[in-house]
Subunit: 223 residues, 2 copies
DNA sequence: ATTAAGTGAGTGAGTATACACTCACTTTGA
DNA sequence: TCAAAGTGAGTGTATACTCACTCACTTAAT
C-alpha cells in the first residue's frame, strides 16, 4: 500500500542543465513565478528582468522569444510528465496483478498527486496555455492518452475479472479518475481558501476507492 | 427525483436590456465568442470590431474600456449565479426534509449542471479572470460561500441525523461536491475528446451518491 | 407639407503607449 | 587577451483608446 517512489527529479525542477549561470537560473525562476502569478500575457519581459535582478537584454541572451522562455520552463516537466503518467503501467509491472482495488487506486494517485503538488506553478502555466490553444492541447493529450489508456485498460480488465471493480465501461472509469484529479488540481492551483490539501490528498484515494468498489448503486440512471 | 426547474434566464443570456442596438448585441456576442476562443488578452478590440462587423469606434461608444466590455458580458451571469447556487436551500425548501441522499445530490447537481452547460463560454471567461486575479477570485467566493455553506450544512446535518450520509466533517463533504463539479466543468470547458457529456451528467449524480453513502470504506486513511 | 434644427449611433483615421526584441558596447573571469 | 555574459538605450510594431466627423432619423417651426 505504500509507494514511496517519489521521483528524484521533483527537486531538480529547473536545473538539469549544468552549464547555466546564476542569472539565467534567476530568469527562469522569475518567469515561472510571474507566469503563475499574473499569467503569461500579463507578464512583460521587463517585469521578468526586474524580478530576476537582471537587464532586459540578458533575458534575450539565451531565449530568442518570450514564448521560447516559457517553453524552456516547461521543458523539464513535459520531458518527465509522460514517464510519470505511464509509471506503474509498464509491461513488467503489469505482470504482477494488483491484489486489490485500493492498491490500484493508491498506485495511480500517490505518485501523480505528489508530482502535481511539486509542480503547481508549472501546471498552472501549462493549463493557461492549453486552455486557449486547441492545437497544443490536443498535441499534449495525444502524447499522454495512449500511454495511459491501453495499459490501464488491461489492469481494469483484470480487476473486472476478479469482480474487484465496478462494472462500468473502461472509458467511464478512466473519466472518473481524470475528473477526480481535475478537481484536486483546481483546488491546488486556485488555492481555494479553507482547503487543507494534506487531508484532501488522503481523501482522494478513499473517495476514488469508494467510487470504484462494486455495489448496488452502480447502474447509471439517465436524467 | 425530477427537477425540470431550469431557469428561464438561460435563454435570456445577453439580452435583458431592451434598449440595445443590433450592433451592440453583435459586439457583446463577438466579444464573448472571442474571449472564450482565444482568451481576453489575445483578443484585440479590432478583432472584436471585425467579428461583429462594426467599426472599432463603435466598440468604445458604450463601453469605456475593454475590461468594461468583459464586465458587461459577465454582468448577467454574475447577477444570476448567486440565486442559482442558493436555490433549493432557501428557508422554506429546507423545512421539507430531503427524503434520501439521492434526492439531495440530484437537487444539488441538476440545476447547477444545466446552468454550467448553458453558460460554458461565460464560465471560461470567468475562470480565466479568476485564475490570475486573486482579489477578484476572493470577492466572487466571498459572495457565494455563505449562500452555500450554511444552508447546505443544515441539510447535511439532517441527513447525518438520519444516517443517510457518510459521517465526514461537513466541509469535507462540501469539498467533495465542489471537486466533483470542477472535474465536470473542466471537461466541459476543455472539450476533452472522447467525452460524452450527456452520460457524464447522469454519472455525476450516481458517483456523488456513491461517495456520500455511508459504508465501511469511510475512514480517511492518512498517507 | 416642407424645411430647418437637433440627436446620437456609427465611423475610421489618428495618437499615445507599452512592450517584445535588437545591438553596439561594457564587464567579467579564465 | 580573449571569449562569453551582461547591459540598457533604442526601435518597430501592435493595440487600446480618442475625436472630429457623417448620416439616418426625429422633432419643431413656419
Amino acid at each position: 500500500m505504500e509507494r514511496p517512489r517519489i521521483r528524484d527529479y521533483f527537486q531538480q525542477d529547473l536545473s538539469q542543465n549544468e552549464t547555466i549561470t546564476p542569472k539565467q537560473r534567476a530568469i527562469l525562476q522569475a518567469s515561472l513565478d510571474l507566469f503563475a502569478e499574473k499569467g503569461f500575457d500579463q507578464t512583460s519581459t521587463s517585469d521578468i528582468a526586474q524580478r530576476a535582478g537582471v537587464a532586459e537584454g540578458t533575458v534575450y541572451r539565451r531565449y530568442k522569444t518570450k514564448a521560447a522562455l516559457r517553453d524552456a520552463i516547461l521543458a523539464p516537466i513535459t520531458a518527465h510528465i509522460v514517464p510519470i503518467l505511464a509509471s506503474d503501467f509498464s509491461e513488467d509491472e503489469l505482470r504482477q496483478r494488483y491484489p486489490s482495488l485500493q492498491a490500484f487506486v493508491t498506485a495511480i494517485f500517490t505518485d501523480r498527486v505528489a508530482f502535481a503538488k511539486a509542480n503547481v506553478k508549472e501546471l498552472k502555466v501549462i493549463f493557461e496555455m492549453a486552455a486557449f490553444d486547441t492545437e497544443r492541447r490536443e498535441q499534449i493529450l495525444s502524447q499522454i492518452a495512449p500511454k495511459m489508456v491501453k495499459p490501464m485498460g488491461s489492469v481494469i480488465n483484470q480487476l473486472k475479472a476478479d469482480h474487484l471493480i465496478v462494472d462500468w465501461p473502461n472509458d467511464l472509469i478512466l473519466q472518473s479518475l481524470l475528473s477526480q484529479l481535475f478537481g484536486y488540481l483546481a483546488q491546488l492551483m486556485l488555492e481555494l481558501p479553507g482547503t487543507e490539501i494534506e487531508r484532501e490528498q488522503a481523501y482522494l484515494i478513499t473517495v476514488m476507492t469508494k467510487i470504484l468498489t462494486p455495489g448496488e448503486h452502480d447502474q447509471i440512471t439517465g436524467q
